[in-house]
């Protein structure tokens, strides 16, 4: 080994001496910090912000942030009352319910009252063109008493109100109440709580749901409410994972003490992290709530490695303090390296240019770095005070001279022949994986709110509303600036209006677009209305004079134009927000815009939730290759710095690369899209997965340096580190695997992926790594044999599994 490495070994040993010499004051200090941060952790707050999910530097989003201040009404909620009984909605029971629901929504605090719309609100009127001109009145006659004549009146008024597809379902099976939310409640002056609003909406549902009536509710506030409910359920999974881990730990160590110590030490960075967050001004959002979970899992993994090394020394006859010293010396380098890799993995996540992901990266990075203190410094101090209970460790004990059967059999993979078989299997898997991974979709897969599962109530409601109405909550806004208009009002300039009409006309035909709202479309309806209601007049005329009859459409009250039409927006309602749909619609819209040859107007993408998704999908797409590249390169660099061997780097990197590819294939197979919630998981998976390789290779290197052959070296590494690695992989997989049942879809996706990454990475490390090492070793020894072994690395007498 090089001089440098010996210097590191000496430094580590010196550190171990100091650590144990000052173990009492240090322990007191750590406990004080824990108490202080534990107190601070009680201040941590839930922080689900919509704007945090926006990739702020994307050009779409700069437009969005600029124009979303101009056009309000983004925070809309829809309460659809659906008639499940015989016939359509024109019956007394239904209309009575709709009226009550309208009243209920009207009185929810925080709802902008003027924005409440339904068939029962006075601003929803029908216009009928009669022999005597316009007749306009409210849809439900004031004297409505439910007679068949009244019902027929309502039916024909509704048909003439232009609300079919909007406030009334296309097939007359439902009608809705829409309302906008205010950010600040004007009565109390306080920020409106989405959770409270969601609760009140849920009360409306409970009150009116019956065998004939179903209430469907969608809207950002309801979504936040449901997500928060889901988050609370996730806490339950944390508890579940904790107990599963505890049980497995006990089965593995057969020692209550070790189990408690490992769990305590693993919880420590979680407490410290949660304590630091309020101090740093950060909160927990639906995405980073998983970080403490993950930190705990990683903490258990490292604690097991350390206590395992300590136990081996204790069983070999060392005192607790000596064993703690030895364990520190053996574990600190690979452990700290692995934690640095984890931190790196979390760090590269920040390449995704979205604030919520940055926060996730920062939170996770801090958590992992804290673990270097808690796991690598605090743990040795704790175990140096501890005595192993007599019963512990006797199970699975392998006496000196005997071989652990399973590991010895497994170690045959470290010989060239069987290694070839592993190579072949790996290649087959990789080819299949690479082929399947081409189907991976960037963005969401499936319909409904991506945060929630397809079968969740919210998405059921959403699907119900989308299938019955022509509008929904998946909206792409195209902003229009008409600066060069000749007329006093841009809406009276036929060139401007025809350009807007052109977008409207072509965008309507894009697959995935349900309907389009633009000032041109509204104008046509008004012009036709002013000309006997004749649909043949529904057109944008080529002269300003012809546009004047449409003036009622150019009012800013429709939310489509401001400032005399200098700024407009065109709304595209999409059938869903799947990654493919969003990308396709945005591409086509860009092409349509490029084909508009009109210098007076400028079209800018793209707002609405679909604009946000398009931007974040692009950010994710851009970050994907960058992130994997940066991750693999930096892992390679760190490994090379540690092991000073290019072949060692290949031994560790190759399995990682294969697993990353397989993970993409798994996502494609399970219908998990590559998006803001899942891309970080891939980085975490690689960051955590590299642990196993590093722990194993580091041990093998020591064994080889002592002159052992490769198979024996691998066998020893498996006995000392492999069991623990395998155990932690299973424990962590089960822990995160429980998320698969979480009510929040992205957490379930994250859980499935992480479980897969943890498990398959450990297989890569124990199957493929030895094979690669075998073939590299065969041509030229991986490590030069060192005759004089130094103390901490020579404890080879006892292996215990």
């Amino acid at each position: 080994m090089s001089k440098g490495n010996r210097l590191i070994d000496r430094t580590v040993e010196w550190s171990a001496d100091r650590l144990l010499a000052w173990r009492k004051p240090l322990l007191a200090l750590f406990i004080l910090i824990t108490i202080a941060l534990g107190y601070s952790a009680t201040q941590v707050r839930l922080d689900p912000g919509f704007n945090k999910q926006i990739p702020v530097n994307h050009p779409f989003m700069q437009n969005y942030l600029h124009y979303s201040e101009i056009f309000s009404g983004a925070n809309t909620m829809m309460v659809s009352v659906r008639w499940k009984g015989e016939g359509d909605i024109y019956n007394v029971e239904f209309l009575d319910t709709l009226r009550k629901v309208t009243d209920e929504v009207f009185y929810i605090p925080g709802v902008r009252r003027a924005s409440v719309r339904s068939l029962f609100t006075p601003d929803v009127r029908y216009i009928e063109i009669t022999e005597f001109g316009f007749i306009g009145d409210v849809v439900i006659p004031p004297h409505f008493s439910g007679t068949p004549e009244d019902l027929a009146q309502v039916r024909s008024n509704t048909a003439r109100s232009g609300q079919v597809g909007r406030l009334v379902a296309n097939d007359f099976s439902a009608a809705m109440v829409t309302a906008d939310l205010q950010e600040i409640n004007p009565e109390t002056g306080e920020q409106v709580s989405y959770v409270d609003i969601a609760k009140q909406l849920e009360e409306i549902r409970t009150r009116f749901d019956n065998e004939n009536i179903e209430i469907n509710i969608v809207g950002f506030s309801k979504l936040v409410g449901d997500v928060v409910d889901g988050l609370i359920a996730v806490m339950g999974f944390f508890v579940l994972a904790f107990f599963i881990t505890a049980a497995l730990l006990w089965l593995y160590t057969r020692s209550i003490k070790l189990t408690v110590v490992a769990l305590t030490v693993a919880l420590m960075p979680v407490v410290w992290l949660l304590g630091l967050l309020p101090l740093l001004g950060l909160g927990i959002d639906p995405m980073s709530i998983l970080v403490p979970f993950l930190i705990f899992s990683i903490g258990v993994s490292h604690a097991v490695q350390m206590t395992n090394a300590w136990k081996q020394d204790v069983l070999a006859g060392s005192s607790s303090i000596e064993a703690a010293h030895g364990a520190f010396c053996k574990i600190f380098i690979p452990g700290a390296l692995a934690l640095l890799m984890n931190a790196l993995g979390f760090g590269v996540i920040m390449l995704i240019d979205i604030p919520i992901v940055h926060e996730l990266g920062v939170t996770a990075c801090i958590g992992v770095l804290l673990m270097i203190i808690t796991n690598k410094m605090m743990l040795p101090i704790i175990i140096s005070h501890m005595h192993l209970e007599p019963g512990a460790g006797k199970t699975n004990y392998v006496a000196p001279g005997e071989k652990h059967k399973l590991w010895w059999r497994l170690s045959v993979l470290a010989t060239p022949g069987p290694a070839l078989v592993v190579f072949a299997v790996s290649l087959v898997l990789l080819i299949g994986g690479a082929w399947k991974s081409r189907d991976l979709v960037v963005g969401d897969v499936g319909t409904g709110a991506p945060e929630l599962r397809d079968e969740s109530r919210y998405n059921y409601d959403n699907a119900n509303i989308i299938s019955r109405y022509s509008i929904g909550l998946d909206v792409l806004s195209i902003y229009v600036e008409a600066q060069g208009a000749q007329q006093s009002e841009a809406c009276l300039d036929p060139d401007v209006m025809r350009a807007v009409e052109e977008i409207d006309f072509h965008a309507r035909s894009i697959p995935g677009v349900q309907s389009v709202q633009s000032v041109a479309g509204m104008g046509k309806v008004s012009i036709s209305g002013n000309n006997e209601g004749n649909p043949r007049w529904a057109a944008i005329p080529g002269a300003s004079r012809g546009l004047q009859p449409g003036s009622t459409a150019y009012s800013s009250s429709h939310g489509l134009v401001v400032d005399g039409c200098e700024t407009m927006q065109i709304l595209l309602f999409l059938a869903n927000h799947e990654g493919g749909t969003v990308a396709n619609v945005v591409d086509e819209v860009e092409q349509i815009i490029a084909n508009v040859d009109e210098p007076k107007v400028e079209f800018k993408l793209g707002g609405g939730n679909v604009g946000v998704m398009a931007a974040s999908n692009e950010a994710v797409k851009k970050a994907e290759v960058q992130m994997h590249g940066a991750l693999l390169l930096s892992v390679a660099l760190f490994c090379w710095l540690t092991f000073r061997s290019f072949r060692a780097v290949l031994c560790i990197i190759t399995p990682l690369a294969i697993v990353a590819t397989l993970c993409n294939a798994v996502m494609a197979t399970f219908g998990i899209g590559l998006k803001v919630a899942t891309l970080p998981v891939l980085a975490l998976g690689v960051g955590v997965g590299v642990d196993y390789g590093i722990y194993l290779y580091e041990r093998m290197q020591h064994e080889l340096a002592m002159g052992k052959d490769l198979r024996t070296a691998f066998y020893e590494a498996m006995c000392q580190r492999g069991t623990a690695a395998l155990f932690t992989a299973f424990t962590m997989s089960i822990g995160v695997g429980t998320w698969a049942f979480a009510p929040l879809k992205f957490q379930a996706d994250m859980g499935i992926l992480l479980a897969f990454m943890f498990l398959v990475n450990v297989f890569g490390a124990i199957f493929l790594l030895p094979g690669l090492a075998a073939w590299f070793h065969r041509s030229k020894s991986l490590v030069s044999v060192k005759v004089a072994p130094n103390a901490p690395t020579s404890l080879t007498g006892l292996e215990q599994t």
Binding site: E131, A159, D171, L427, S437, P541, T661, N664, S779
Partner: protein, 323 residues
Amino acid sequence: MSKLISYAFCVVVAALVIYAFSPRSEQDLDTAHLDLGRIQINDLIRVDDALVAVGERGTILKSRDGGESWNATSREVDIPATLTNVSRVSDGVLLAAGHDSLILRSTDNGDNWESVMHDTELGEPLLGTWSPDGRQVYAYGSFGKFFESGDAGLTWQATDLPIQGEHLNDMAGDGALRIVVGEMGLVLRSTDAGQTWEPLEAFYNGSLFGVTSLGNDAWIAYGMRGNVFFSQDEGLNWAQIEIPHKMPLYGHALANDGSGVVIVGTGGSFVSIDDQGNVLDTGFLKGLGTLTSAVTLPDGELFVAGQRGVLQESQDLLAVTGK
């Protein structure tokens, strides 16, 4: 050799991984695609075995298979003015009229079109053309616009009518009799092949959107709020036909054997009337929105078009004949 195997393995892995992470192909964009169910169609005619539909932003569509599939047609200049009407002048010659007083002419049954009239100053629409004999053609429209052509629609001269600028919505004729209907119950009648015109005493004060001859001196006119009128004396005297709904009616199709007419309108409403003025059937074609026009296919099936374009959600439409 052993060196080679391990390095080769790593290289193959690297190649496959790079392949897996290389940019994934995008779906091919079908940019020329127009959703025919989302273009407003304002008029539809049958020319021999073909259907020709015109509408929003100058859309002209042609179908040779009874409306199963449609092709966009070409024209020399793309004017984005909405077309309101298409009519047959003579064999092969079609005229399409629209907003900005646009008239397009085709000499090949609607495959290619050229502009013969266009006025961007006023921005007011023509609402139709009609030809009695294949040479003489009338064009009519908003604010009493009325043009005549003696050369099958190539050149046009404005004609004054004895009216006060009412919109002229539809025109039909039978022999030397011609009738124009329009705004505020306007009915103009000429019994001398258009030499002189005489407005009838208004029998209705709303707008009439359509008029047609049913043969044997029987005429029918329709308009706002479910108003349908029937005349048995060449359009001199009209009587209202009571129908059960109050939907405005915008277009009609004659039965192939001349035994009746189907009139369509708002909300997919239809009313089927025989040549004696008896209502045979009324109802709503679901999911088709407001209908502007209809034709009878050779097999007697009705084909409709309107706000939801030319996509028929249900082929199970009523047969016009035999009712």
